[in-house]
């Protein structure tokens, strides 16, 4: 376009460039730390700003795209993943991120999560789990613990919550990690690995809702002296200690970790290398093209119509 600025030296991506609107979150909300860690990780990795796409459903956490100065889309409740998948599959040049809450991801969006995972769509999904519906002001979420009192469970939650880590490990995600909003360094490490992973990577971030579920993490809350036990990963160094360390490529071991008692452990549960749907579909396209050669749309349509004569 005439009026566009000429392509200059690639500028360095800074936190400042990435900062957009001031978040509308409540002061003290855990999601602030997630945002800050995301900024810093992108800054570290120097992903071109125009290639970053953040996509979210609906919820407090899902307001994320407004707060990142990059391409973004704020969608409808529970369907961020298929939308992000459409972006990823049709635009392999982009870095696609999806953000959302526990309700958005595990309740209304729970099936899309499983299917995006099994198809191994190349994108990174960050779930900010506050164990409650924040935006709609305190209803039971699928991760609300039994007995937690909400406006839809005035006598305490009755339904057994889902175990997010089990869901992720079962579903077929090729990178599954768990971190905590107060552990910025750990969070950044997880973000970095997730972004570098080719395939469907998910991070479950425990993030506190200071309004509707303050102190959700009292048990095992690192800020309050609780435990933040980090998974020790195998170093494959042949030492006896290594025997007991976690093999991230072992699906059953990941499931066993997921089965551990609250608060469980943090870090990478599972990581594996499996062809992405992006690659597999591209392979089909390439094979087809290599068979038929480079033909114009008109040529191809003519051929197709000839066959119907």
């Amino acid at each position: 376009m005439a009026s566009a600025t000429p392509a200059a030296e690639p500028e360095k991506l800074t936190k400042k460039a990435l900062t957009a609107d001031h978040p509308t979150w409540c002061p003290g909300c855990g999601d602030f730390a997630v945002l800050a860690s995301f900024y810093k990780t992108l800054e570290k990795l120097q992903i071109p700003q125009e290639k970053i796409v953040t996509i979210a459903g609906i919820g407090c956490s899902s307001r994320f795209p407004y707060f990142v100065n990059s391409h973004g889309l704020h969608f409808i409740h529970g369907r961020a993943l298929p939308l992000a998948s459409g972006v990823s599959l049709s635009r392999p040049d982009l870095h696609v991120f999806a953000f959302g809450g526990d309700g958005d991801g595990y309740s209304i969006g729970g099936n899309h999560l499983d299917h995006a995972a099994r198809k191994n769509i190349n994108l990174t999904y960050v779930i900010m789990d506050n164990f409650v519906y924040g935006l709609t002001k305190k209803q039971t979420s699928p991760t609300s613990p039994l007995g937690f009192k909400t406006k839809t469970d005035p006598t305490g939650a009755i339904d057994q919550p889902i175990n997010p880590m089990k869901k992720l490990v079962y579903g077929g995600a090729t990178f599954v990690a768990r971190t905590h909003a107060t552990q910025v360094k750990h969070m950044m490490a997880m973000f970095e690995r997730a972004i570098k992973h080719e395939g469907f990577s998910v991070i479950e971030v425990q993030s506190e809702c200071v309004i509707f579920y303050p102190g959700a993490f009292d048990e095992g809350n690192p800020r309050k002296g609780g435990e933040f036990t980090i998974i020790e990963e195998k170093k494959w160094d042949g030492t006896p200690e290594d025997e007991t360390r976690h093999d991230v490529s072992d699906n059953s071991a990941a499931f066993a970790l997921a089965n551990e008692e609250w608060p469980g452990r943090f870090g990478v549960y599972y990581e594996t290398d499996r062809p992405t749907k992006n690659k597999l579909e591209q392979r089909w396209i390439d094979e087809t093209k290599s068979k038929i050669g480079d033909a114009s749309t008109t040529d191809l349509l003519k051929k197709r119509f000839d066959a119907m004569k």
Partner: protein
């Protein structure tokens, strides 16, 4: 058969073949094959339709699908003519009955004086019935005899094709080429069997039994290289011509074959069609592709379309270009999955919560499925909004022959606009067209856009102020209503003024036009019009209506609470003109010509 042969024709012309019977020219024949779906009677019809395309004949087919999962009673009807074919035929001229149940169920579909050819191995005809002529052919046993034991009666269909070829003096050479083309892939044995069956049928000389055969004349006008295909295929290819390269959907009858075509075809064009876990994911993924800068599409039938309504509202709000195909079927709910109906028009307009102005188009025949798809692509890009194509089960599955489209003038090569956007870029200018900056685009101003389903300002930023909401509502509505300014003028068939205007939309066009022709033949002052643009409506309708005493809207949906079909409801709401009245029905069948004429007469008297 055409008017020149209103009873089974006896021609005075010399018999050109050496058969032992007379032969007469006909210009038009409706042939119904009734059997079980596993007999492959669709195959007979398919070959005849293809032949029509190759021999300058017109054709329209019609079939039923049994309610059993696989197998079960089924019919295939072929209407062949040297002139224009507007419907699949109210009544059959010829019936091929494979079983007693076929005979019993379909004899009444034969017109007076029609010819019933039945499999004498299975059918005991009612010989007292003098209304029609009966000819028994031991179809099963001659098939078994020709093919030997293991094939059992498989091949009956091709044998009957042979019978038909001889009876109507069709072009044997062309047919053999078609059979070869179809069966070669399946292996030499299969092809050989098919040819044996065909020849046995061809040799059987059913004309001798009947005392006559028919020379179904080839057409005069257009060339002999017509394309022969069904509506769903034409639609899928039209979408590709219009520039669609990406899309997502979930299977459902009768939509499924569109997606099957796209899934197979798009890789050739460097594109991709995704089968998702459900319809919610499908429309959502398609919106993601649209957001990514492509013209994308999704589609479904009834139940699946209902599931897409929330996300389609997002498409309106975020102003994303998306083509949405609804191949309508009988409703409500699961309804009649394999029957035709036009009962999703108002849903296309009003199915989402809030005011969601949408473009809605409907193709009138198989050829138009292609062209409407191209037009839908153009409009989706022009107004950056969801555009509905309302096809239906009848269009989807029926076969017609039509000239190859003019690709050079129609084909649109898609492009991804990733150039850097200037500092003054706004995606939703209060005056002017929507222009997105898809991800990957650099923003010279340094500020990147967020697309949202919340109300927003020109920049796309959430803004729920009273003024902004009102302005944006105006913007979303006006850009759609403005589209009508560029429509081609509506073309009335018949006279421009008169007593009665029959008005339709979608697949009723054939029967409506045929009804108009018949009425005019009887000296009645009837004209007709089919509206392809259902929302926004063409602006010239008011003037057209002014010139007729009655406007009768013919559609296949319910008459509602107050006696008006869905399209009639729209028209009355716009024009508040009481002369707009309705003829509707929901029996799962396409309109018969005489049904239209009778119902219009009833309503006007």
């Amino acid at each position: 058969m055409s008017a020149t042969a209103t009873s089974a024709p006896k021609s005075d012309a010399d018999d050109p073949t050496d058969s032992n019977h007379s032969s007469g020219d006909i210009t038009d024949a409706v042939i119904r094959f009734a059997g079980n779906s596993q007999d492959g009677i669709q195959t007979i019809g398919g070959f005849l339709a293809k032949l029509a395309g190759r021999s300058a004949r017109e054709v329209m087919t019609y079939m039923t699908i049994p309610s059993t999962i696989s197998g079960g009673a089924s019919i295939f009807q072929v209407h062949l003519a040297s002139g224009e074919v507007l419907s699949s035929g109210d009544e059959a001229d010829f019936l091929f009955a494979f079983y007693q149940h076929s005979y019993d169920a379909h004899l009444s579909s034969l017109r007076d004086g029609g010819i019933c050819i039945y499999d004498s191995d299975h059918v005991t005809p009612d010989t007292n019935d003098k209304r029609v002529r009966h000819v028994g052919v031991p179809i099963t046993s001659i098939t078994v005899e020709a093919l030997g034991g293991t094939a059992r009666d498989r091949g009956k269909n091709i044998l009957v094709l042979g019978l038909v070829t001889a009876l109507f003096q069709l072009d044997r050479t062309k047919l053999v080429t078609l059979i070869e083309g179809q069966f070669k892939r399946k292996g030499d044995d299969i092809l050989r069997n098919a040819m044996v069956a065909f020849d046995a049928g061809y040799a059987y000389q059913v004309g001798d039994l009947l005392g006559e055969s028919f020379n179904l004349k080839t057409g005069e006008s257009s060339g002999a290289d017509h394309v022969t295909t069904d509506g769903n295929t034409a639609l899928a290819l039209g979408l590709i011509a219009g520039g669609v390269r990406f899309g997502a959907a979930y299977p459902i009858t009768p939509w499924t074959t569109v997606m099957e075509h796209l899934r197979s075809e798009l890789p050739k064009h460097g594109g991709l069609f995704v089968q998702t876990e459900d319809e919610l994911a499908a429309v959502t993924m398609a919106l993601g592709m649209a957001y990514a800068g492509h013209l994308s599409m999704t589609g479904s039938s009834g139940p699946g379309i209902s599931l897409k309504m929330e996300a389609l509202g997002y498409g309106t709000m975020a102003e994303l270009p998306l083509v949405v195909v609804n191949v309508q079927r009988g409703g409500p709910s699961t309804g009649l999955p394999t029957s035709v109906e036009q009962s999703d028009l108002l849903q296309a307009l009003y199915g989402s919560h809030g005011d969601t102005p949408r473009v809605v188009l409907a193709p009138i025949n198989v050829e138009d499925c292609f062209h409407t798809a191209v037009e839908a692509c153009r409009l989706a890009k022009k107004c950056s909004a969801p555009v509905f194509i309302l096809s239906d089960q009848a269009l989807a599955t029926r076969i017609e022959a039509f000239p190859e489209p003019d690709f050079e003038s129609l084909v649109v090569e898609p492009e991804l606009a990733l150039e850097t956007r200037p500092e003054d870029f706004v995606p939703y200018p209060l005056e002017g067209e929507t222009r997105h900056a898809p991800p990957g685009t650099k923003m010279a101003g340094g500020k990147y856009p967020v697309v949202t389903g919340l109300e927003h300002d020109a920049w796309g930023h959430p803004n729920g102020s009273p003024e902004m909401h009102q302005l944006m509502m105006d913007r979303r509505r006006d850009k759609i209503s403005k589209l009508a300014e560029d429509y081609p003028a509506c073309e009335v068939f018949g006279d421009d003024s008169g007593d009665v205007l029959l008005l339709g939309w979608g697949s009723t066009w054939g029967p409506i036009r045929e009804a108009t022709i018949r009425a005019r033949d009887k000296g009645l002052s009837y004209s007709c019009l089919s509206v392809r643009y259902l929302n926004p409506l063409p602006n010239d309708l008011a003037d057209i209506f002014d010139k007729f005493k009655h406007v009768v809207v013919i559609e296949m949906n319910d008459k509602g609470m107050y006696g008006f079909g869905q399209f009639a409801t729209l028209l009355r709401a716009r024009y508040a003109n009481p002369k707009i009245v309705s003829v509707t029905k929901t029996d799962g069948l396409t309109f018969k010509i005489k049904e239209i004429l009778q119902r219009v007469e009833d309503i006007l008297s």
